[in-house]
């Protein structure tokens, strides 16, 4: 896969992934550009990637962690509108969606950074071994870690869950 193909294919999903963290969107965009720059330079050096997607997630996630540990993150959880731009049919739908997103973000914020990362990677459809490779967690304990993270998310959402998924 050429660099241009990878950029076009993975940019949007990585951008969405980055928005799950408490980072201003401009900083997240800069981090993403830096991630693709590293990928570009590796390709120019002749590095062959067996799994470009996992590599990009790994580098992107590491840079997000560096950013978060630097203490520069200033986005407020209540500022959920900056995380997504709903385009549903009505103001009511938009409000409901924003409220649901706020609840999920708050539930995620209640998890440890490690659990949050793993759940988000799990949601992206990565396998246990890929998640282990990206996050640096022992693959042998992945089932335990995922099970525990889901349990914590479930507890955080428990009160709101029924109304969130009330589909009549």
């Amino acid at each position: 896969m050429s660099f241009e193909e990878a950029y076009k294919k993975y940019y949007n999903e990585l951008r969405q992934f980055g928005r799950r963290f408490d980072i201003p969107s401009e900083s997240s965009a800069d981090i993403l550009q830096e991630t693709f720059l590293r990928y570009y330079l590796e390709l120019k050096k002749g590095t062959e990637f067996g799994n470009s997607r996992a590599w990009l997630y790994k580098v992107f996630l590491n840079q997000i962690k560096n950013y978060l540990s630097s203490g520069k993150n200033t986005i407020a959880l209540s500022d959920i509108s900056s995380l997504n731009d709903p385009v549903s049919g009505s103001v009511h739908d938009d409000f409901t969606l924003l409220e649901q997103q706020r609840i999920v973000m708050e539930a995620l914020a209640g998890l440890s950074e490690s659990d949050k990362e793993i759940l988000l990677l799990y949601h992206q459809g990565f396998s246990y071994s890929e998640i282990a490779g990206i996050s640096g967690i022992n693959p042998g304990s992945m089932g335990k870690t995922i099970s525990r993270a889901i349990e914590k998310l479930k507890s955080s959402l428990k009160l709101k869950y029924d109304e969130m998924f009330d589909k009549n």
Binding site: K8, F36, V87, Q101, L119, I146, M164
Partner: protein, 153 residues
């Protein structure tokens, strides 16, 4: 007879990371063990709950355009360009000052002359300045009885 599964083992089974042989054994066990069948349902429900919740974060999201990648080669060109632009701007400014200054000075000179003439005209109340100058500049000549000039003032 297979023993009952732990929740972590059931999670791995639900996520399809168990080997084929073990998968077959678990499937057989689930048909016989009500407790594990309930645990299976619980783990599947929890997984769907988590994934549904995380789906909400990307629901109805605008497909924003992908910004162009900033190639490092373009970045180097970008670093040189501002320096050149600043030098060019400074040179243009200097050139403009040099070209405009003589015109401004000339205009100022002619304006000054014109103003002074106007002031003089107002002062002498429309009198013929040329005539006044000629009269004022006539020399005083004093001659003796024989007509010889003895003093010019």
């Amino acid at each position: 007879m297979m023993r009952c599964l732990t929740k972590i083992e059931m999670q791995a089974f639900v996520d399809d990371v168990t080997g084929n042989a073990l998968r077959t054994m678990i499937n057989d066990h689930l048909k016989e063990c009500e407790k594990c069948a309930r645990l299976y349902d619980e783990v599947v429900a929890d997984k769907h709950m988590a994934l549904d919740a995380l789906d909400i974060l990307v629901k109805f999201t605008n497909q924003e355009p992908i910004p162009p990648f900033r190639y490092p080669e373009a970045k180097k060109r970008g670093r040189i360009l501002p320096v050149v632009a600043v030098i060019m701007a400074a040179a243009s400014l200097l050139l403009a000052v040099l070209l405009v200054k003589p015109v401004v000075d000339k205009n100022r000179e002619s304006n000054d002359l014109s103003n002074s003439e106007m002031i003089m005209m107002e002062y002498f109340d429309g009198m013929d300045l040329n005539k006044m100058w000629q009269e004022g500049s006539n020399p005083l000549i004093i001659k003796d009885e024989e007509g010889n000039v003895i003093l010019i003032d």
